[in-house]
Amino acid sequence: MLDLSWMAWTWPTAAFFAAVALALVAMTIWEKLRPGGGARRGVLGLHTTRGDRLFISVLGGMILHLAWLGALGPPLWGALGVSALFALAVFRWV
């Protein structure tokens, strides 16, 4: 058996990476079932595809979590909620 103890896996970090992988798989299935077509112009004037919007959502989510932690400290459930709302807004309007 391959020894991966040096990678220091924990359940929360494994769950995070599983969520990222699931998001990519979900995006692929979504694109197969209902192709998103070319880039669209959103409220910010940016031309984005679905993949761009996922990238903006993930990057924005990471920054929101860091900002929440720096300003308010743990726990981060509030940051998770705000990030989810941010992602919904990005996919809907950006």
Binding site: A8, T10, P12, P35, G38, I56, L69, G70, P74
Partner: protein, 288 residues
């Protein structure tokens, strides 16, 4: 609906790259994420710490100071290297033997390994034996980059400009050579001056290569480590301790892997965000 090609075999050609990226980027990144939430004293024994290290880094004055130095350094080298690179590219010959000569001269600094650049400039700028150091002191200006923070900054910036302006020059030169002659002929017929030709023909046509140049120089200068480390070691004091030097001090000097992992992820997110902003702003102009 977009009509798609039925042949998807090309994806198999991407597999070697995916495997390579998995080994040299994704797996180390996953490990860093895992370390950033834990404490270790070696022997692969880890203790869960949650967001403690992130909080510690975000509230650390030492991190804020390194970040500020890093931002000032990056802004300064970009402000010098981009205009200087464009100016040199514009003044380079387009035909004749001078072309090869200029291209070789411009490529030379890029061929020198980073640690050699640091060592070279260290000797070059030493006040007692270095040509630069002795020349500045001979002018009556007290200069010692090992003792004066201002002199250390001046030397680090000068070294970076010497090392990397060539990259901007070569990219801009390639962009300028790709402009069809018809544009220049039309400008000549219209009686356009040098500035008007630059402003309305050359600069817009350079937009794509400048986007690449700015992104490359931003990322490289924001992650700079080897040259200032060899030249000043982050000193005098902490005057030239940029983010990557500070990160290595925490990770390898103090062996604080948890805080170092958290810091490297915050660093990574900042680079990702700033690159995205740069890219979006520059491509936005392109789309108009």
């Amino acid at each position: 609906m977009i009509r798609r090609s039925a042949n998807q075999k090309a994806w198999w050609l991407v597999l070697p790259v995916v495997a390579l990226v998995a080994f040299n980027a994704v797996i180390p990144l996953m490990t860093v994420v895992n370390y950033s939430f834990q404490e270790t004293f070696g022997e692969n024994v880890f203790f869960w710490e949650g967001t403690k290290w992130y909080l510690q880094i975000l509230q650390s004055e030492r991190f804020h100071a390194s970040l500020l130095r890093q931002l000032i350094f990056t802004a300064t080298v970009l402000a010098i290297e981009i205009p200087l690179g464009i100016a040199i590219a514009l003044s380079m010959p387009r035909r004749g033997i001078g072309v090869s000569l200029c291209l070789v001269l411009m490529a030379l600094p890029l061929l020198i390994p980073w640690n050699v650049v640091g060592a070279m400039w260290n000797i070059f700028a030493l006040p007692e034996i270095g040509l630069l150091g002795r020349a500045i002191n001979a002018l009556g200006i007290e200069y010692n980059f090992t003792r004066q923070p201002g002199a250390a900054w001046f030397t680090v910036i000068l070294m970076d400009v010497w090392h990397w302006t060539s990259l901007v020059v070569l990219l801009c030169y390639a962009g300028l050579c790709a402009i069809p002659d018809a544009y220049m002929q039309a400008a000549k017929i219209d009686g356009a001056g040098n500035w008007q030709v630059f402003r309305h023909i050359q600069l817009p046509k350079l937009k794509r290569v400048l986007t690449i140049a700015v992104l490359l120089r931003f990322m490289d200068s924001f992650m700079i480590y080897t040259e200032p480390f060899v030249l000043t070691g982050g000193g005098p004091g902490n005057a030239t301790t940029f983010l990557s030097i500070d990160l290595v001090k925490i990770a390898l000097g103090q062996f604080d892997l948890g805080p170092a992992a958290a810091m490297s992820l915050i660093y990574f997110i900042m680079i990702l965000l700033l690159c995205w902003i740069f890219y979006t702003l520059m491509m936005r102009g392109e789309e108009r």
